[in-house]
Symmetry: C2
Subunit: 238 residues, 2 copies
C-alpha cells in the first residue's frame, strides 16, 4: 500500500537514508497516500526509482541484505539488524554499493527476489511478531544511523554551570556538618564518622555544579535561621 | 490520539512489554481506534491503567526514564536508548520497579512530569527528526528486547545438513584440480600453485555442507561429460 511506502520514507529520513527503489508497486504511483504518510520526507518519494523486476532494481548493487520474518530453507547467513548494518557499512567503506531489501506487506519477498540477496536479516521480537513495512524500515534505519553515531551512552546537558571545585564541596560539607553537630543530629559520637562519610558520599553522587553548592548552602542557612525563629516563637508563647 | 496508543501497544507486544499506564488521556477510553491499531495487542489495552496525574501513575516505580526530543534546561542525565534499557534492566535485577515515560504526540512531557524522571532518553536521528509515539515506543521496545536477546549476530539456519568434513573438502579440491589440469586451465605451471590456493580459498569461504560438496562434484562430472560429448559432436561433424 502507498501508506506503507510513505511511512517507510519518513522512517528513512529520520535516520539519514535517502535512496528509495520500488519494485513493481501494486498501487498508483505517484501516490497521494504515500505523500500524506511521508510527512516531511516527500523529497525521498519524488526521487524514488521504480523498476518492474527485482533483478533490474538490484542490478547496480554489490551487497544486498534482505529482511524476512520467515526463515526459509535457504542456506544464507541470517544477521541481526546490528550485524547487518555493520556489514553494509564495512562493504560501503571498501567501495561497494549496498542495499537493504524489504518485502511487501502481505507476501514478503518471493524466491527470485531472495536469490539476489547476499544474506538475510531477522529482527528479534517476542513470541508475538507483527511488524509492518514502515516499522521494519524504522528499525533498520535506526541501527544504520546508530552504527555511525558517536553520541555518548550517558551524558549531561551542556550548560554554563561547571562542576563544583573540591574546595566548594569541602566548604559545603563542613558547613552542613557544623550545623548538624549543633542540632545534635550526628549522634551518638561513636557513629559520627560513619554518618558523615555516608552523607558526603550521598552528596558527591549527585555531581553538583558550583551554583547548586551555593543553593544548598543557602538552604542550610535558611533552615537554621527558621529553627531559631521557631525557638524564639515558642519562647515568647511560654 | 487513540491511534497512537494502539500503535504503541502493538509495538510493546512485539518486544515483550506488557504493562501500559495512561496519564490523563485526551480521548474517549476505551478507544475503538486504539483497538484497531493495536492489531493483536488488544490485551495490553484491556489491562491498561488510567490515572489523571503523572504523580499517581508513577507512584509505585523506583526508576523512571523519560523520552524527549527536546533537551531542556534540566540537569538530568541523557541516555541513548541502549544505555537507558541497560540501566532499567540492571535496576530491575536489583529489585526496582522500572518504567519508561513517553510524552503525548503534540505537547510532549510537561515540567511536572519531567521532574519525576530519574533521567532522560534521546533517540539519535539525522537532522530531520520526526518520530511519533508509536515509533518511539517501537525503538525503545526493540532495545529492551535486544538487551536480553542472545541471538548470535550472524548465524546460518539450522538444517539437517552439516558442514562438510575436511576429507570431503580435500576430495572436492583434488577432483576439481584434476579436471582443471586436464582442461589446461591451471596454466602456466609457474602460476599453478597460486591459482590453486585462490580457488581453494574461494570454496572454503562459502562454508559448504556435505550435501553441497556432493552437488558441486556432480556439477563437475556433468560439465566434463558435456565437454567430451561436445568434442565427440564436433568430431562427427568434422
Amino acid at each position: 500500500m502507498g501508506e506503507n511506502v510513505g511511512a517507510a520514507a519518513r522512517a528513512m529520513k529520520n535516520f539519514g537514508l535517502s535512496e528509495l527503489v520500488l519494485i513493481a508497486p501494486q498501487f498508483k504511483w505517484p501516490s497521494d497516500k504515500a505523500q500524506a504518510l511521508a510527512a516531511g520526507a516527500g523529497d525521498i518519494l519524488e526521487r524514488a526509482r521504480i523498476h518492474p523486476m527485482a533483478g533490474e532494481a538490484l542490478a547496480p548493487f554489490n551487497l544486498v541484505l534482505a529482511t524476512t520474518a520467515r526463515e526459509r530453507d535457504v542456506l544464507k547467513q541470517i544477521h541481526t539488524p546490528e550485524a547487518a548494518v555493520r556489514r553494509l557499512r564495512e562493504a560501503g567503506k571498501a567501495g561497494a554499493r549496498t542495499a537493504l531489501l524489504f518485502g511487501g506487506e502481505r507476501a514478503g519477498l518471493d524466491n527470485d527476489e531472495m536469490s539476489l540477496a547476499d544474506g538475510v536479516i531477522t529482527i528479534p521480537t517476542a513470541e508475538f511478531s507483527s511488524l509492518n513495512l514502515g516499522q521494519a524500515v524504522l528499525l533498520l534505519g535506526y541501527e544504520w544511523l546508530k552504527s555511525a553515531d558517536s553520541t555518548p551512552a550517558v551524558r549531561t546537558r551542556q550548560t554554563n554551570a561547571v562542576p563544583a571545585t573540591r574546595a566548594e564541596l569541602t566548604d559545603l560539607f563542613e558547613h552542613l556538618e557544623r550545623e548538624l553537630d549543633a542540632a545534635e543530629f550526628l549522634f551518638p559520637p561513636a557513629k559520627r564518622e560513619t554518618m558523615v562519610r555516608n552523607i558526603r558520599a550521598m552528596i558527591m553522587r549527585s555531581g553538583l555544579s558550583d551554583q547548586e553548592v551555593r543553593t544548598i548552602r543557602g538552604m542550610i542557612v535558611a533552615l537554621v535561621r527558621n529553627k531559631y525563629r521557631g525557638q524564639k516563637g515558642r519562647g515568647k508563647s511560654e
